[in-house]
Symmetry: C2
Subunit: 191 residues, 2 copies
Amino acid sequence: MEELHRSGCPINLTLEILGDRWSLIVIRDIMFGNRRHFRELLQNSQERIASNILADRLRRLVDRGLLTREDDPTHKQKAIYSLTEMAIDLVPLLAQMGAWGRKHLPVSEELSIRAELLENGGQALWNDFMEELRAKHLGKQLPPGTPSVLAGLTKAYLDVLAKKAGCSVLAENDTGAPAGHQGQKYGENAV
Amino acid sequence: MEELHRSGCPINLTLEILGDRWSLIVIRDIMFGNRRHFRELLQNSQERIASNILADRLRRLVDRGLLTREDDPTHKQKAIYSLTEMAIDLVPLLAQMGAWGRKHLPVSEELSIRAELLENGGQALWNDFMEELRAKHLGKQLPPGTPSVLAGLTKAYLDVLAKKAGCSVLAENDTGAPAGHQGQKYGENAV
DNA sequence: CCAAACTGATTGCGTTTTGCAAGCAGTTGA
DNA sequence: TCAACTGCTTGCAAAACGCAATCAGTTTGG
């Protein structure tokens, strides 16, 4: 019988799985960047993850039940990585991490807009986003006509990018409405 | 000019500070265990942190603005470590980590009771707890008569311990009221 | 039909971090 | 005076990390 865990504390057990500098980066990219293949994760990585580290983390996350790996029917060599319910449940944690980082660390504007929207949307937005992830990764059916949270986040990100670029070229990207706002469905900082 | 950060993403920047297996354990013990001295952190550590790792983490956390270190006036060699506002702001993150661990990992009953209370208390309880931490670590004044959140969490922990011990000796620790409940101030799973 | 590009990785190798045990100089309290 | 306590440091082996190059099989474009 081997010593499996340092302690039974929930925070410690969570750290034993997620307590390194790459695991949550990989999950973030799959979750918010919709990267489902090895090369997508490797080449679009903002933080330039090394391929051996990526391979190791994907293996570990599959082992530990946060990801599943399946063959891509369109390509005999391709693997598709999907989030499990366990990983989808990390949405509130990632939202809190983003909020804390935004408040205390030197974040860049374009990369923090999604964190800001997620923070302001509160639990209601997180729940909608998690339902969307369940549809995308677990095959769960979604009510038709459901607006995509991820699309909203991505649009806001691109709008900031365009605006920043526009400052030095042409400021022509304003649509009139503030980026990312979708009516009044989600409260600002709901408690 | 050196490369300081892998990217400006809030989640990444947070991981650059907290993304290891010990930093949040140290903060947890100072925050919930009220350990303020090196030896307290070393010897009461559930996870048996090594002294060189502890020394390194304390130094790093002070460097990065999460802790302060000051001399203890009662002992020329003693150092007192205190949380900064930056660290106190981690309460919601730690609460989410605890909630996730409780849901998905093999936590022990006595070590997860505090996480459960913190989760059920929601933002309102977190705010009260943070105010209490500001009083303890930053010298902020608290309205007189304020009940201690930490005391409630600790009592619940000890009650579970006593009940577990009592099962094999004498089951005499029940007070009638469920452990940790303090009237109806904090909602269950408020959204 | 063949070469180029793409697929998910693996290998080699040097550096950094971790983990464990022991030790240390100064301080305190009995 | 002396044992216990204070915040660490040191030495050393093992593991993890990070980088660059590479690999074999698959698909695609000409």
